[in-house]
Amino acid sequence: MEHTVAKVETEERLENVSFGMWLFIASEIMFFTAFFAMYIIMRNAHPELSHPHQLNWVIAGINTFILVISSLFMTNAVNASKEGNGSRTSNNLLVTAGCGLAFLALKAVEYSGEIKEGLLPSTNLFYSCYYTMTGFHGLHIFIGVVVLLILAMRARRGDFTKTYNSPVEVCGLYWSLVEVVWFFLFPVLYLV
């Protein structure tokens, strides 16, 4: 006979999980900070390589909209998991993952357009920076989507309760991080 015991998190464990995630977020922000500094230096050294709106800013603008919407669904998922509502948590996580996939699909369209025009990372320093910064950001989105799908499956199975929901909460923090990074990438690379 199998016994299932509902997981319960102590206040101390919750604090530790949250603190660990915030430390990870801090290291990620510093990781991207180095890229921004590199970009500003490159841009000053070679002003002729970049000019406003040279990349597809319309697609990037739509992607910004998609990420902002996804964060609404992510916060809904976090709230639902705190209420122990597995199906609502799962649905919101799936919509968030769908938004992430839409973001990646549009990014692929954008990349393919540039590659068709022969604009590759080796074209010049601007495109090296552009592909590096957006590529790493896209990788973060992809990892987020995989985690969201796993969590959605677990939520559907009823793994998250009122007393155990830290994975969803921590994933929410991660998703907000990728959104914040995009808020800086979008204007700096696409608009100015």
Binding site: E15, W22, W57, V68, S176, F183, V192
Partner: protein, 92 residues
């Protein structure tokens, strides 16, 4: 709960408005460095909104607030130093 949802919707609208402002400002010539600084300031305001309301920093303990603030201070120091360096270089 409904109050919380209303707050989140208000933040959502503000984020969209700031993005629209960023796009609008990019068509105004504020000098290349001015445009970058304006874009970074608007992006920072979006990051603050997301941090406070979507990531729940508003309700977190002091240790978490400091941990979250720390990389932004480093971000400002590093990029501020780069911008200052460029401005001094341009003067000479």
């Amino acid at each position: 709960m409904s109050n919380k949802i209303a707050n989140k919707t208000a933040i959502f609208i503000m984020l969209l408005a700031i993005t629209a402002a960023q796009i609008g400002l990019s068509f105004v010539n504020l000098t290349p460095m001015g445009n970058i600084l304006a874009a970074l300031l608007l992006a920072a305001s979006e990051a603050i909104l997301v941090g406070l309301f979507f990531m729940g920093l508003n309700d977190e303990k002091r240790l978490i607030k400091i941990t979250a603030l720390f990389p932004f201070v480093l971000f400002c120091i590093m990029n501020g130093a780069v911008v200052m360096d460029i401005l001094v270089f341009m003067k000479h």
